[in-house]
Each structure stands twice: as structure tokens, then as C-alpha cells.
């Protein structure tokens, strides 16, 4: 066994002068422990949050959409579909109609986003089916599905008849727009897991949408789903190049850019805040070691008379810091990962969906984050041992053996 380590263990845990000494050691280990555990849990939750938000965004939204400049309706979408056949990143291309309107049920009205989608679109169909909470998918043209939060707001249930007003009515009477009102039966209610969607989205059959928005068979755009969602910007660029003017594209990453930037910033800030915990832990280590050095003045002096060099003593005290750090870090790591495991397995924390984008706390432990936390705490702890260790190494042996 390394003798410096042997002495370090004895100095840290053996025969302290006061019980208080043990408590201070325990606190300094606890400080590292809490810092590491908190960092791992919080970073993992932030990762999970980001991942989950992304997944939910791409789940309900398409990955890329094709539009015309000035949002002109597209009528020859079949030929666009044909010309993109060679793109093998593309999973599906489906036409959609997207517009705004008012929904009304009894005394309640609400502004909504109305999406017309085609029943032949098996991908969207599949996804929406997955999220369907009550009822079933629209079978007829005058049926719709809407989000749970919207349903709650309007107090509608499946089977209720709601009215949708769209601004593209007849212009005959006064030369001005008169809203067109159509009646729909609520056939189903979905829960897409994201409040924004659940509170705003209404899905109606494409053909009906084309009719109530006066598009006469044209569509707003085409939705594209691709294999690797993170390649969306590149694929979108290639599509744009292929189709040329007057077509343009949007992709989910670009559309949600500010959201992702905000999430990334949030993670950084949380990290900095938690870094404070680690720094406090470092101060605990400094305090503990200074206490040990003060308590062990005589012992350090005697060790010098026995032939320990300044460098040996330095090592003894760096080892003590490392012992505190390793015990704290390993226990923090285990407990942090265990908490992450519990959170992901049982999802026992419910979030109010109106406040957060998601209603459950997701967790995604990222290996690199964990390594980063470990390296960071180790560096901070080692740096914090330097001053006390230096002090100990410079202890004058004569002073130590003179006074007792």
C-alpha cells in the first residue's frame, strides 16, 4: 500500500480530536454527493425534456413542408409527389390544408387551427390514431377530431355537433366577406402530449377543408416525413433545389429554432447554477482539510522527523481531498442515476401542462454529460485540496515537537 494513502486514510477517519471533526468530514462528502447527484438528475431531465419536446413536435407535425411563395394554394401536388419519388430519405408525402377559424359549441367559442388531412395518408393517420384518446377517426366528411384541452374548454364530448366558422364565405350580399359556417360531429378526441397542440388543433377531412376554405381541390402544402429527422434541413434544401420557384420549404428544426435555443440556454443556466453547489462542496473540502491540518499539526511534524518530505505531506493531503471527492462522487453518481431511473420508470412527477410544454418529467441520461460532471467535480475538488495540502507540507516540524 502507498504510505501517503495509508496516512491520508488515518488522518481523515482515524482518531479525530472532536466528534465535530467527523461531522465536518461527513458534510464535505455530503456536499460533493449532493452536487453530483443534483447535476446528473437536472441535466438528465433537461436532456429528456429537450428530446421529448422534439419527439412530440415531429410526431404531430411533419418534418418538412412544401409551400408556394405567398402561401398560394397548390393544385398540381400529384406531379410534385411524382418528381420527388427519387428521394429515398422520404417516407411519405401528403397534401394538407392549414388555416385558422373559429369553433363554437353551445355558448363557447375558441380560435383554432384547422388542418385538413387526407384519409389515404397512412402515416398521419397512424400517428393520430396513436394519440386518439376517445372516440374514433373521422369516417365521413362532416366529422372531426380535436385536442383534449380544447374539448375541455368547449365542454364537448364525442358525438356532439360543433360549428366551425371560416372567413372564406360567399361575397355576394354586401361585397364583403361573410364567414361560412359548417357543422361537424366530434368523432374523436386526441391527446398529442403537448398542450399547445391539445388546445389548438382540429383535424378535418381534406376534401371538406378544401371546400370550406374555398380552395376547390387545391391544398395549402405538402407534408413530408423523412427517415432521419435530424437531416430535415439538408433534405429540405435538396427538395427546394429540385422543385425550384415558386416552391419553398420549411422544416421542423427551422420552425422551432428559437424553442431549441431556449432549451439549450436553459440547460446551460441550470448547469451554472448547479456548479455553485459543487463550488460550495469545494469550500467544504477546504474547510475540512484545514481543520484536519490544524488538528494534526503535531502529527505532521512528527511524520517529518520520521522522514516524510514536504512532497509526501502534500500527497497525504491531496489524497484526503481525493478520498472525500471519490466517496462523494461515486455515491452521488449512483444515487443520481438511480433517481433518473426512478423518474423514467415511474414518471411520478406530474407537470401542469398549461405551464410546461409537457405533462410528464422525462429523463435522458447522456453519457457525455455524466463524464463532464465527474471530470468537473474532480478538478474542482483537486484544486480545493491544494491550499490546505500546501499549508500542511510547509508545517514546521520544530514547532510541532516543541509545543504540546
Amino acid at each position: 500500500m502507498n504510505y501517503s494513502f495509508f496516512i491520508a486514510v488515518k488522518h481523515l477517519f482515524g482518531a479525530r480530536k472532536t466528534f465535530f471533526g467527523y461531522i465536518v468530514t461527513a458534510i464535505s462528502i455530503g456536499g460533493v454527493f449532493i452536487g453530483v447527484a443534483a447535476l446528473i438528475v437536472v441535466l438528465s431531465v433537461m436532456n429528456g425534456f429537450q428530446k421529448d419536446v422534439k419527439e412530440r413536435i415531429v410526431d404531430v407535425n411533419s418534418h418538412i413542408i412544401i409551400l408556394k411563395y405567398f402561401n398560394e394554394p397548390i393544385d398540381d401536388y400529384k406531379s410534385i409527389k411524382d418528381s420527388l419519388k427519387e428521394f429515398d430519405d422520404i417516407v411519405s408525402i401528403t397534401p394538407f390544408i392549414y388555416s385558422k377559424g373559429l369553433i363554437q359549441f353551445e355558448n363557447w367559442t375558441n380560435g383554432v387551427i384547422i388542418r385538413g388531412f387526407s384519409n389515404e395518408d397512412s402515416v398521419t393517420y397512424g400517428i393520430m390514431k396513436k394519440h386518439l384518446k376517445f372516440g374514433k377517426f373521422p369516417q365521413k366528411d362532416d366529422e372531426l377530431i380535436l385536442g383534449v384541452d380544447l374539448a375541455e374548454e368547449l365542454r364537448v364530448h364525442t358525438g356532439d355537433v360543433v360549428r366551425i366558422a371560416t372567413p372564406f364565405g360567399s361575397t355576394e350580399t354586401f361585397g364583403s366577406l361573410i364567414p361560412k359556417v359548417s357543422e361537424f360531429t366530434v368523432s374523436g378526441i386526441f391527446d398529442a402530449g403537448m398542450y399547445q397542440y391539445n388546445a389548438e388543433l382540429v383535424y378535418i377531412p381534406l376534401r371538406k377543408a378544401s371546400e370550406i376554405f374555398g380552395l376547390s381541390g387545391k391544398v395549402t402544402g405538402l407534408e413530408i416525413r423523412i427517415k432521419d429527422i435530424y437531416k430535415a434541413p439538408q433534405v429540405a434544401k435538396r427538395i427546394e433545389k429540385k422543385l425550384g420557384y415558386p416552391y419553398r420549404t420549411n422544416n421542423w428544426i427551422e420552425l422551432n429554432g428559437s424553442l431549441f435555443a431556449a432549451l439549450a440556454l436553459e440547460k446551460k443556466i441550470m448547469f451554472l447554477l448547479l456548479l455553485l453547489v459543487i463550488i460550495v462542496a469545494a469550500f467544504n473540502i477546504i474547510t475540512t482539510l484545514i481543520m484536519v491540518v490544524m488538528e494534526k499539526t503535531t502529527q505532521i511534524g512528527i511524520l517529518k522527523t520520521l522522514g516524510l518530505s514536504e512532497r509526501d505531506i502534500l500527497r497525504v493531503y491531496i489524497y484526503q481531498g481525493l478520498i472525500i471527492n471519490i466517496i462523494g462522487t461515486i455515491s452521488g453518481l449512483i444515487v443520481g442515476l438511480f433517481l433518473c431511473f426512478l423518474l423514467s420508470k415511474y414518471k411520478f412527477i406530474d407537470l401542469p401542462g398549461e405551464v410546461y410544454l409537457l405533462d410528464k418529467l422525462p429523463v435522458d441520461v447522456q453519457f457525455l454529460d455524466v463524464i463532464f460532471v465527474l471530470i468537473l467535480t474532480s478538478i474542482v475538488s483537486i484544486v480545493s485540496t491544494l491550499y490546505p495540502a500546501y499549508k500542511a507540507s510547509k508545517m514546521d516540524p520544530v514547532k510541532a515537537i516543541k509545543y504540546e
Partner: protein
């Protein structure tokens, strides 16, 4: 007869605020190898200070200390430490055992520093404690030992690396006459058996009979007797 230590014009002063205290005022001295030398002198004469400087625990303000031709105080900390570990066994008035360590652990430490071999050191420590009739005290903590036993454990620790020199500062100062005689007999025996050099500070003139030579230190200078 060769000298193990040669001291030339050794001066030591301490600075307290703006006051300079000259403790050692130019000491010239040779310590003969294989002999037991006593240092006598009134309190405050500078005996301990001299011993510390000889053992490289302290540095002189001026002058030289040669150990077998080596200028001790030009060595760096690492070499000094190594030198202490191999060549010097310190024994003090108070036993200065490390209370976190058991008796045998205290004894084995210098050997562990030297050999880095835990098991060899442990074995040697047991043997040494046995030779000092402490075989049933090896697993005791220092504070579970009597004063005489503590001092014998400290002696074992000073001897474990088989050093050339034992530097002892009032080693019997805390002991009764029975224990004092016991310690001195141990020193005498070791000196006879292994030819180690002993430099012993004492106030007890009765012990001088165990030694070969007496040096008197008065007010920072050697007094010729």
C-alpha cells in the same frame, strides 16, 4: 576515531518582531562515531535548537554541519527527509507517538517510508517490539500504554531503520528513575551491539555514567570542561 558530525561556527538566531535573539553563538563541535555523547546545560542554553539543526529539522543562520562529509544544509527538502529517514532516529521527552496509529503501526512507519513494503515493515516492527518486551502491546493505541511503554515504542520507532545516529532530547525527562535506567540500559545495549552513535540531551547528571563524553552548552556556546 572518526567524527560522524562536524559542526563549524554554527550560529542560530530567531527574529521576534524587530528583536533578534542569538541562541547559538558560533559552535564548533565534533561528535564521535559509535559513542554515547551527552549534552548538558541550563534551560534555554540552546541544546534542543542544536539537536534540531543536527537533525535537519531546523536550519542554521550561519555555519556548516557535515555528516560524514556531506553538507547537510545544502540538501533540498527531499534529500534531507530521505537522510533523516535512513540515518537519524529521534527520541523526545514526550513520546510523540501518532495517536491514529496502533503501536506497531507507529513503529513501522519509518521503515514503510523507506521500503514501501507494508508486510516487511510490519514484520520488522513486531520483531523490534518483541525485543523491547512489548510483544503484548503491539495492537494497543498509544494512549493505552504507560509512559515507560510509550517511550519504548518511540525507541523502537527510532531504531527500525537501523539509523547511524540516535538524537535524543531529554528522553527520560518524563520517566521515573526505574524507567529512566531502563531506557538508558537499552541505549547502552544498542550502542554496544550495533555501534550506533547517541547524542543525548539531559538535565539528569546521574545518567552521565552511561555515556562516553559530556558536552556542556551554556548560553549558546560550548563550555570546555
Amino acid at each position: 576515531m572518526s567524527s560522524i558530525f562536524k559542526v563549524f561556527n554554527l550560529k542560530k538566531s530567531f527574529q521576534i518582531k524587530d528583536k533578534r535573539i542569538d541562541v547559538l553563538k558560533g559552535i564548533n563541535l565534533e561528535i564521535e562515531e559509535g559513542k554515547i555523547t551527552f549534552i548538558l546545560g541550563p534551560s534555554g542554553a540552546g541544546k534542543s535548537t542544536l539537536l534540531h539543526i543536527l537533525g535537519t529539522l531546523d536550519s542554521p543562520t550561519e555555519g556548516e554541519v557535515l555528516f560524514k562529509g556531506t553538507r547537510l544544509h545544502s540538501l533540498d527538502d527531499k534529500s534531507k527527509s530521505r537522510w533523516r529517514n535512513e540515518n537519524i532516529g529521534f527520541i523526545f521527552q514526550s513520546h510523540y507517538l501518532l495517536n491514529e496509529f496502533l503501536a506497531y503501526e507507529n513503529v513501522m512507519l519509518p521503515h514503510l517510508f523507506l521500503t514501501k513494503n507494508f508486510f516487511k515493515s510490519k514484520k520488522k516492527s513486531f520483531e523490534l517490539l518483541d525485543s523491547l518486551s512489548l510483544s503484548d502491546r503491539v495492537f494497543h493505541k498509544p494512549n493505552e500504554l504507560s509512559g515507560g511503554e510509550q517511550q519504548r515504542v518511540a525507541i523502537a520507532r527510532a531504531l527500525i531503520n537501523d539509523p547511524e545516529v540516535i538524537l535524543a532530547d531529554e528522553p527520560t525527562g518524563n520517566l521515573d528513575s526505574k524507567n529512566s535506567d531502563m531506557v538508558m540500559q537499552i541505549f547502552k545495549r544498542i550502542n554496544r551491539e550495533s555501534g550506533k552513535t547517541f547524542l543525548i540531551i539531559t538535565h539528569n547528571e546521574e545518567l552521565i555514567k552511561y555515556g562516553d563524553r559530556v558536552i556542556k552548552l551554556v548560553d549558546g556556546v560550548i563550555e570546555n570542561s
